[in-house]
């Protein structure tokens, strides 16, 4: 029995450039990369050097805090470049693909053997093959801790927003592996496994899934975000955790257990106002953005975002798609200046408020660019932030607690529920990075707690 949860607060993003609902094969990328920045609070120890030959599944990094947690190469080839940033922070490990894929073998299992695995054996296998990194936990949205037993597991089979690859489409024909993944996930927890699906899901992988509690989620962005779903379905109690995987990650996990090889196949949506060929592409984990955007985006200065336009990471033209991301968003950098901007009625402006004429005429979509739409000021307006917060936080008050460094107050505000959806920052007329301030508070709790 599926129950429905409608998320009331949030925002339907009226941004142009939704991808078409079809999947095509993308050309094989020449490079893929592993980006340690995709894994929150992960302190990497490098295991390879530039020029090393690696197979798909060769460990590239291990955690300094727990050497069992490793991150593996998404492809076979040679380590072309280890890219470091300020203070030698590891940014990217770039693998140049060579010939057919060669895999590290972690032992194939047939379906019944896989289902017969004990929790310990499963955990050990996932850790060894690097598939552990597909499992994340809340609070903190970091890789799960293998020593901990989660209160429940949530499988997020909803698209993050209208620009994301929809699992309802991606999982068609993958029913068997997906169900295996759900059964394996059930081994990880003593509590229930929740399967979050779109309200209008039709794919049998989602509608006929067994052994799980199916939750149909409806509502504006970010109703498709696992953090929001966990908040509404199964918020972790104090000192407890809830683990979660996004649908394609669960599929990769199941395939890994069945075949004993990393499963680098991913479906990624290309969208956004500056993308000219918008659809879903079958490509690889960590693929170079160029392999998708080449010839499919407008010319000129563009911003590429791996993940959602609301909270994804800005990547250069030569960058790579993030580990957990299934969307690539292209938009123009907004450096155009407008004459006497605030005297204009604002027919072509997108605002949640009712301060532009467009608010009353209801244009369906806006080709937004990256312009900040104003300049930085102190907090002035109130009451607008909590109206869009999907997890019932009062973001401006919480941000003040963070600025005061008051951990107790932050926790009372429920800062750990923050889904990092970016909406409070989006609506702020003072152009304050409210969401980033909350993240700073969460980092502080992580460090001190």
């Amino acid at each position: 029995m599926a129950s429905t949860i409608s998320i009331r607060r949030g925002l339907d993003l009226k941004i142009a450039g939704r991808p078409a609902y079809k999947i095509v094969d993308a050309p094989r990328p020449a490079r893929t990369a592993l980006q340690p920045g995709d894994f929150r609070y992960f302190r990497p120890r490098l295991l390879v050097r530039e020029g090393d030959a690696v197979k798909a599944g060769t460990p590239l990094l291990e955690s300094k805090d727990d050497a069992r947690v490793v991150l593996v190469s998404p492809a076979s080839g040679t380590i072309e470049q280890i890219h470091r940033g300020e203070r030698r922070k590891l940014l990217e490990i770039v693998v140049a693909l060579a010939g057919e894929d060669a895999f590290e073998e972690f032992g194939a299992l047939d379906d019944s053997d896989a289902r017969a695995l004990t929790r310990e054996a499963l955990v050990e296998k996932l850790l060894k093959g690097g598939a552990w990194s597909l499992i994340r936990r809340r609070p903190f949205a970091c890789i799960a801790n293998p020593d901990e037993r989660p209160q429940s597991v949530l499988i997020c089979a909803t698209p993050q927003d209208a620009f994301d690859a929809d699992p309802d489409l991606v999982l068609r024909g993958e029913e068997k592996d997906f169900q295996l993944g759900l059964d394996l996930a059930a081994k990880l927890t003593d509590g229930p496994v929740f399967l979050a699906v779109p309200a209008n899901a039709v794919s049998p992988a989602l509608t006929a899934a067994t052994g799980v509690r199916t939750l149909r989620f409806s509502g504006p962005y970010p109703a498709g975000d696992p953090a929001v779903q966990i908040y509404h379905a199964c918020p972790p109690k104090a000192k407890e955790s809830v683990w979660y995987l996004r649908a394609q990650d669960l599929l990769a996990l199941a395939r890994f257990v069945r075949t004993g090889r990393v499963s680098p196949e991913r479906v990624v949506a290309l969208g956004g106002p500056a993308a000219t060929e918008r659809q879903l592409f079958r490509t690889r984990l960590g693929a170079s953005a160029q392999s998708l955007t080449e010839g499919r985006c407008e010319p000129g200065e563009l911003r590429l975002v791996s993940g959602s336009v609301m909270n994804g990471r800005k990547i250069p033209r030569t960058g790579f798609i993030g580990f957990y991301d299934t969307a690539l968003f292209a938009l123009k950098e907004g450096r155009e200046r407008e004459f006497l901007s605030f005297f204009r009625p604002g027919l072509d402006k997108y605002t949640v408020s009712s301060t532009c004429l467009s608010s009353f005429l209801g244009k369906a979509e806006y080709a937004l660019d990256t312009n900040l739409q104003g300049s930085l000021r102190n907090f002035v307006q109130s009451g607008i932030y909590e109206d869009v917060c999907p997890v019932g936080i009062w973001p401006d008050q919480t941000a003040k607690a963070v600025m005061a460094g008051d951990i107790e107050e932050m926790e009372k505000h429920g800062i750990l529920d923050c889904a990092d959806c970016g909406l409070c920052t989006f609506v702020c007329p003072s152009k304050i990075e409210v969401g980033a301030i909350l993240r700073r508070g969460i980092d502080l709790i992580r460090k001190e707690g």
């Binding site: 918020p235 609301m310 006497l340 300049s375 505000h413 152009k431």
Partner: protein, 403 residues
């Protein structure tokens, strides 16, 4: 040759930029350059990280909308200043002369307010190296509208200086202030120069020494009349003094420049609420608080009480600065309560306190300014209390919702 003058202006401004940036000749005037430049052209800044797109509303648009909402009271008020002055001298009161006469009184006051306050704004922006805050566009217009038309211009300059410097800038500028800066300015003038801003001689823009006034001219505001009358016949006393409810609603009564026309205030309220810029919660609860308190006071009035104790709540809403304060002052988002429930409590208390001051306190026939300033101080406490409730609710929800 076809040159786009706007493009040319943009290029000229851009060319001048190095002069004002770090190491430039006029480095210390960067805030001034920034203000002028971003006033003319929206900034080219792009987002640094997610969210990569932003809402089109910014502080400039927000503040300009407030200014637009204030304008009806400015024009209605100016008209009334002219009307009162001409009527007091028995001169013809055709609309054009009323408007012209009124603007002759109000425009210099507004200009002095903007100029004197603006100098402080720029000075602080330059010394503190922050940008010039758009909030001053509102403060600089609100303050003069709370003054009587006969106010000496040097007092306007002094008042706004006090409001901007001690009401706002010492706290760190717009967004950091505790009190409403425009009301802080008015409170300064009110307590420093009471003769210029209270009593019955200041509300009409005439010079009693020079101008010949008509017989029976009093100059008292309806609130003064009501406070001065005795017993339950207060409405009759008002009518005798020539004040009808229609006049009070439309604004042809003596009073501070912007406060007289309830209709104009309601027009402003409509703009603020329709655009979402002003809080309807505060406005509605202010009115509710006042009506409630008026009922209490009417019931408590004895036969020997002052007439104002008997004044029906509806009259209170239309007299004095109640509507102007409710719509434009109490709703200042910085000095008001920030939480939703807090706004309701804050509004109710302002409304109730105004009536309490008007009816019980013999020293001040008007209480709006003091009520708002007092609640400005209490607003953080209200928010604190509301937040404790929010925390408790979250905790209870957490405990109940687990599987």
């Amino acid at each position: 040759m076809n040159v786009n003058p706007i493009k040319l202006l943009e290029e000229k401004l851009e060319a001048a930029r190095p002069l004002f940036e770090k190491g430039g000749k006029f480095e210390i005037f960067f805030p001034l350059y920034e203000a002028k430049e971003t006033f003319l052209f929206s900034p080219a800044t792009v987002t640094a990280a997610g969210p990569h797109v932003r809402d089109a509303l910014d502080m400039k648009r927000l503040m300009i909308l407030v200014v637009v909402a204030i304008l009806p009271t400015f024009f209605a008020g100016s008209y009334n200043v002219g009307l009162q002055a001409l009527a007091a001298q028995g001169l013809p009161t055709d609309p054009v002369s009323c408007m012209l006469k009124g603007l002759m009184a109000t425009v210099p006051i507004v200009i002095v307010s903007y100029a004197a306050g603006g100098i402080w704004e720029v000075l602080f922006a330059v010394v503190r190296r922050h940008e010039i805050n758009e909030g001053f566009l509102v403060t600089g217009l609100l303050f003069p509208l709370t003054l009587p038309p006969s106010i000496p211009l040097w007092m306007v300059a002094l008042g706004i200086s006090f409001g901007v410097v001690l009401g706002k800038e010492v706290f760190g500028g717009t967004g950091m202030n505790v009190l409403n800066p425009a009301l802080t300015a008015r409170a300064f003038v009110f307590f420093a120069y009471p003769a210029a801003i209270s009593g019955d001689k200041v509300w009409t823009w005439v010079n009693p020494a020079k101008d010949k006034l008509v017989d029976g001219y009093s100059g008292a505001t309806p609130l003064l009349v009501a406070a001065g009358s005795k017993g339950p016949q207060v409405v009759a006393a008002l009518t005798d003094a020539g004040f009808t409810m229609k006049q009070a609603f439309l604004g042809s009564i003596p009073g501070s420049i912007g406060e007289t026309s309830t209709l104009a205030c309601l027009a402003g309220a409509y703009i603020l609420v329709a655009t979402g810029v002003g809080s309807w919660r505060i406005m509605v609860s202010c009115v509710a608080g006042a009506l409630g308190m008026a009922v209490v006071m009417n019931a408590a009035a004895g036969p020997e009480s002052a007439g104002i104790m008997f004044l029906p709540g509806v009259w209170h809403l239309m007299l004095g600065g109640f509507m102007f304060g409710t719509v434009f002052m109490a709703t200042d988002p910085v000095s008001a309560a920030r939480t939703k429930r807090g706004k309701v409590i804050y509004g109710l208390l302002i409304g109730a306190l105004v009536i309490l001051i008007r009816t019980v306190n013999p020293a001040y026939p008007e209480g709006m300014m003091l009520a708002i300033l007092f609640l400005n101080i209490l607003a953080p406490l209200i928010d604190y209390a509301v937040m404790q409730g929010h925390f408790a609710k979250r905790k209870a929800w957490r405990g109940a919702s687990n599987v």
